[in-house]
Structure formats: structure tokens, C-alpha cells
């Protein structure tokens, strides 16, 4: 391509006159801006030499005129460029209001305040939502025709049955790890047989149900949020309301019920798998035959360990279902909002599950259970 003429130069014939030439387009914007910033004072501008001309070029030309403080009739323009230049001028005469952004200490304090307020609101919303769901459940309970059995069973399959391989495998692996850890300490005392109690108590009281709850917080709470969130952004929830249905009854109760029924079952499975993991390590590495493992288990294990463990399962189920559904209902229309809410629901459920588990542990210990 041949070297294009300079976009702006002084007219050798007429002093005080500028000549514009070449393409004044977005592609040339960088070169144009460099040339314009060097333009000295002038009283007239002849822009008839301009070839390609687009809206960006028009804006740059307008800026040049403003900086040179040219009178309206001091600009000569080709007729075909006139409409575009007039349009752009009309726009550029009303410049935007600058929005000041504050990045200082005040903004920091402000953001902390907003975040605290958001968190407080979240807690209130969760408590309120829990009450609302409870009321709806009480209202629906005496009317079996309004129980949504199909939906509940479908969710039971999705949150329960489909999670069996994952829960069983991961609990088994953690069981083997706990047994290994215990054996490393206990072997010094010649007391490797206590691995049975270690694995048994750990899984019956804590790990079985906790692992299940954490896994389902990641797997199910996120799914609930995404499902309901997508429905919310597609205005399906609004449609449900206008059809005279209650979204809590239609969407939340079946999910809650499914999880309350399935989480204890999965927790029981996790206990079995974890203890099986311990048994395999015992047989393979520590010289504890499976028969001996089971006999020792019968001798030392008490029912209360199992009961305190499994009693926590429905509580975790309620927490996971409530947060998952509530976050989904709070989605506001955009894809980004669905993502944010899903993240928030997983983080909240895992944090709450671990927190509640700690309270349970202290309480059970104080009660001597």
C-alpha cells in the first residue's frame, strides 16, 4: 500500500489554513490522534480532501474543531460527509457526566458496611425462609392429594440413588486413611487392635454423616440452586405464582422431603463403607482378620455412637435443602447471578454443616451420650 498523505497539514498557499486529507476512520484513529495533538492554532480547516470517513473520524474532526475554536463556517466539508458530521456533532455537544470513583478509605469502610449488612440480611432471609417452608409443610401435610409424590421420588433418585457410588467410594477411601493414621500411632504401643474402635467411633459418630453432608452440599445444594435459579431467570417461578401455585409447595417441599429421607440412608451407607475401608486395611496391613475385626466391633461398639451420628443427618438435610432452594429463588435474571448464587449456596452449606456439627459434638459430649 502506498504511503497515505499526512492527515493534517498547513496549507502552503493560505496561511492559517489547515488541510485535512486521507482516510479519517477508526482504523486510522491512532495516527489521527497523534497528528491532531500537534496541530497548532488555525482559523480555517479545509476537510474536503478526506476520503474514507466514519463516525469515529467524525468525532475526531469535531474534537479538532472544538480545540481550534473554529467558527461554524470555517470548516469546509464534502457534501456527502455533511450528514454524518452533523449527526456526530449533535451528540458530542452534550458531553457525558463523569462518574467519580472513590477508591479510598471511605469506599473501603462503605464496602465493609454493605457486606456486613448483606450477610445479616442473608441470615434473616434464611430464618424467614425456614419458617415459611415449615408453615407450607404444615398446611400441605393433612392433604395427601397435594403431596407431590412423583416429583419427590424423582428428586430422591437424583440426590440419593445417583449419589451412592460417589459417597460409598469416598467414604471407603477415607476409612482406609483413618485406619492407616491410627495404626501408625498405635503400633508403637502394640495396640493396633484399637484401630477397630478408632474407625468405628469416627465413622459412626462423625465422619459418616459429615462426609455425606459435605458431599451433598457440593453435589445437591448447587444443583438445587442452579435448577431453581434457571427457572427464576426464565420467569418460570413467576408463572408458577400466577397460576395460583405456591413455588415453595411445588419446588421446595419435594426437594426438602427427598433430601431428609435420603441423607440418613446415604449417611448409613457411608458409615458401612468407611468401616469396610478400615477392615480392608486391617486385614491387609495390620494383621487383623475380618472375623476378629467384626468380633471386636460387636464387643466394644455401643448403639449410642450410631444414634448420635445418624440423628444429625436430617438436620444437615434441612440445611442443605433450604439454602440450596433459597439461593436459587434469589437469582436475579442474569447468567452471572446464577453462578454467584450457586457458589454462595455451596460455601454457605459446607460452612454451616461443619459449624452445626461442632455444636452437636460439644453438646453430645456434655450430655455424656
Amino acid at each position: 500500500m502506498a504511503e497515505s498523505p499526512p492527515p493534517l497539514q498547513r496549507d502552503p498557499a493560505r496561511p492559517g489554513h489547515l488541510l485535512a486529507a486521507g482516510d479519517w476512520t477508526l482504523a486510522e484513529a491512532e495516527r489521527l490522534q497523534a497528528a491532531l495533538s500537534g496541530a497548532g492554532p488555525a482559523e480555517a480547516l479545509d476537510a474536503r480532501g478526506i476520503g474514507g470517513f466514519d463516525a469515529s473520524g467524525a468525532m475526531l474532526l469535531w474534537r479538532l474543531c472544538r480545540r481550534l475554536e473554529l467558527a461554524d463556517d470555517a470548516l469546509q466539508l464534502r457534501e456527502e460527509h455533511r450528514p454524518l458530521f452533523t449527526t456526530v456533532c449533535g451528540i458530542c455537544r452534550n458531553p457525558p457526566r463523569e462518574i467519580r470513583r472513590d477508591w479510598g478509605l471511605r469506599a473501603l469502610l462503605g464496602r465493609i458496611g454493605w457486606t456486613v449488612q448483606d450477610n445479616a440480611r442473608e441470615i434473616v432471609a434464611l430464618l424467614g425462609f425456614g419458617g415459611q417452608v415449615l408453615l407450607t409443610a404444615l398446611r400441605v401435610a393433612p392433604r395427601p392429594r397435594r403431596w407431590r409424590l412423583t416429583s419427590t421420588v424423582a428428586h430422591m433418585e437424583a440426590v440419593g440413588l445417583d449419589a451412592v457410588p460417589l459417597v460409598a467410594l469416598l467414604s471407603f477411601m477415607i476409612g482406609t486413611v483413618v485406619a492407616f493414621l491410627g495404626a501408625q500411632v498405635l503400633v508403637d504401643f502394640g495396640a493396633t487392635i484399637f484401630v477397630v474402635e478408632l474407625v468405628g467411633i469416627a465413622f459412626l459418630r462423625e465422619l459418616g454423616v459429615l462426609l455425606t453432608a459435605v458431599l451433598l452440599a457440593g453435589r445437591t445444594a448447587s444443583a438445587f440452586t442452579a435448577q431453581i435459579g434457571a427457572m427464576q431467570s426464565g420467569e418460570e417461578i413467576d408463572a408458577i405464582r400466577t397460576l395460583g401455585l405456591d413455588p415453595i409447595e411445588v419446588l421446595v417441599l419435594p426437594r426438602l422431603l427427598a433430601l431428609v429421607l435420603m441423607l440418613p440412608l446415604l449417611a448409613f451407607l457411608a458409615m458401612l463403607a468407611g468401616i469396610a475401608g478400615g477392615m480392608v486395611v486391617g486385614a491387609a496391613m495390620l494383621g487383623i482378620a475380618p472375623e476378629m475385626f467384626i468380633a471386636r466391633f460387636h464387643e466394644t461398639m455401643e448403639l449410642r455412637h450410631f444414634l448420635t451420628g445418624i440423628a444429625k443427618a436430617p438436620v444437615f438435610a434441612v440445611v442443605i435443602a433450604l439454602i440450596g432452594c433459597l439461593e436459587g429463588l434469589q437469582v436475579q435474571g442474569t447468567a452471572q447471578s446464577v453462578g454467584e448464587r450457586t457458589t454462595s449456596s455451596v460455601v454457605q452449606t459446607i460452612a454451616l454443616v461443619i459449624l452445626i456439627n461442632a455444636f452437636f459434638a460439644i453438646w453430645f459430649m456434655e450430655m455424656g451420650w
Partner: protein, 256 residues
């Protein structure tokens, strides 16, 4: 680039989804500087045609040339050349929901060119006003805009690179009549001021009568007719007759 070359030239286009054939040897020219309206029943392949022109969909056969460049080329330089010369408004606006209106308009400028941030801001603001948005809309997120404003913001983003060719997919669908009429007027004034070539898919007869130089009717996998409105109206084809001479068609024509 010779001036005689059409802005878009489609030859022998074949598009099929499994057994369902959408286009069967479709030919279409969009001349420079014209507004071509594309109409056709639902499922006649209007959007598929646009996606083929944009290179978003690979047709089973046929060629598409945009300003003489092969739109189906896999060469990155060819692709870039076409992307720089075309602006697209998708049906829903397709604004990036996490960015404000001004940031949305700035995306193509920042990606394709290396400009001073102050200039980018000024250009984006100008494009936003050009598309008929008020000045305070710039810092709003797409979710805070009405349907009509979202379309205008989408149009502003399509105009960001000052493309000579604009492809619009049902720009007035979902707008109230006043908003749609405003959009038609905007399109006319932009076309006049910027000298745009416009490929316009629409169901809206009012838009058709208000803006288009020529109309292409899609059907039976090909272009049934491509001519000025007056000629297309008289085409002897059941769908065309129903479309233009049904109650809605008559009403739209009366206004002109």
C-alpha cells in the same frame, strides 16, 4: 475491493440438520448501501442464513463471500477482516451481562485496536448516543435496561468498529409499537448518516415498509423472490400472498 462487488454474495448454499434440509442451493446478493429485508415463515432458515454468513455455522455446501472475502475461510486473517467489517445485533441483544453498557461497547474496540483509554471512552459514549440511548444509561448493567434499550445497546456495540455492513436479527421483535417505530427511524437515520449496508431479518411488516430497499422472501429452501417491496407483494405464492395481503399486511401498507 471493486465497488461493483456486492456486500454479501451467497451461492448454492446448502444447510441441513440431519434429514431436515433448511437451505437447498440458496442464492442471495446484498448490494452495497441497501437495506435488504429478509422475511419468511418460522423455520424457513433466516437465522441459519445469518449464522452462515457470519461463519458461525459451516454449511454442507455453497460459498459465502462478504466484501469479496470468503466467509467460510479458516484463515485467521480473512476471519478478522470480515469481523472488522460486520456488526451484528442478535435477537436478544446478546449483551455481556456482567459488563455495563459502555464496557460492552468498548469490548470490540479494546480487543481489535490499540487505542488510548480516554479516546475509547469517548468513542463508546458517542456510539451509545448514536444508537439513541440517553447519557445516563452508560453505567447501567444490561439487566437494568428495558428490552428496547437493550436492543439499542446491542446496536451500539455492533456499531463500535464502524462496520460498513450491519446484520440485524429481528431488531424490533418484543418491542412495543412506539419503541419499534423509534428503532425503524433510528435505522433509517443511521443508514443515511453512516452509509450502511444492512441485512435485516424481521417478521415486522411495519419495519419492512419503513426501512427496506429490497425484500428477500425465504421459503422451500431457497429465495422465492428478491426485489423491491412493490414487486414482491404481487408474487404469486401462497405464503407471500398471505403474508402481505393478510389483515396485518394490509394495515401496514395503509400507513405508508
Amino acid at each position: 475491493m471493486s465497488g461493483a462487488e456486492p456486500a454479501i454474495a451467497v451461492r448454492g448454499l446448502v444447510n441441513a440438520f440431519g434429514a431436515q434440509v433448511v437451505h437447498q442451493g440458496l442464492d442471495l446478493d446484498v448490494r452495497r448501501g441497501e437495506v435488504l429485508g429478509v422475511v419468511g415463515g418460522s423455520g424457513s432458515g433466516k437465522s441459519v442464513l445469518m449464522r452462515s454468513i457470519l461463519g458461525l455455522r459451516r454449511p454442507q455446501a455453497g460459498t459465502v463471500r462478504v466484501f469479496g472475502v470468503d466467509a467460510l475461510s479458516r484463515d485467521a486473517a480473512d476471519r478478522r477482516a470480515i469481523e472488522r467489517q460486520t456488526g451484528v445485533l442478535f435477537q436478544g441483544g446478546a449483551l455481556f451481562s456482567s459488563l455495563s453498557v459502555l464496557e460492552n461497547i468498548a469490548v470490540p474496540l479494546q480487543e481489535q485496536l490499540d487505542l488510548d483509554p480516554e479516546l475509547v471512552h469517548a468513542l463508546c459514549w458517542m456510539k451509545m448516543r448514536l444508537a439513541g440511548l440517553p447519557g445516563d444509561a452508560g453505567h447501567k448493567l444490561p439487566a437494568q435496561l428495558s428490552g428496547g434499550m437493550r436492543k439499542r445497546a446491542g446496536l451500539a456495540r455492533a456499531l463500535a468498529l464502524d462496520p460498513p455492513l450491519l446484520l440485524l436479527d429481528e431488531p424490533t421483535a418484543g418491542l412495543d409499537p412506539v419503541g419499534a417505530a423509534g428503532f425503524d427511524a433510528l435505522l433509517r437515520s443511521l443508514k443515511q448518516a453512516l452509509g450502511l449496508t444492512v441485512f435485516l431479518i424481521t417478521h415486522d411488516l411495519d419495519t419492512l415498509y419503513a426501512t427496506c430497499d429490497r425484500v428477500a422472501v425465504l421459503g422451500e429452501g431457497r429465495v422465492l423472490a428478491c426485489a423491491p417491496l412493490g414487486e414482491v407483494e404481487d408474487l404469486d405464492h401462497p405464503w407471500v400472498q398471505q403474508y402481505f395481503h393478510g389483515p396485518r399486511g394490509r394495515a401496514a401498507r395503509r400507513e405508508v
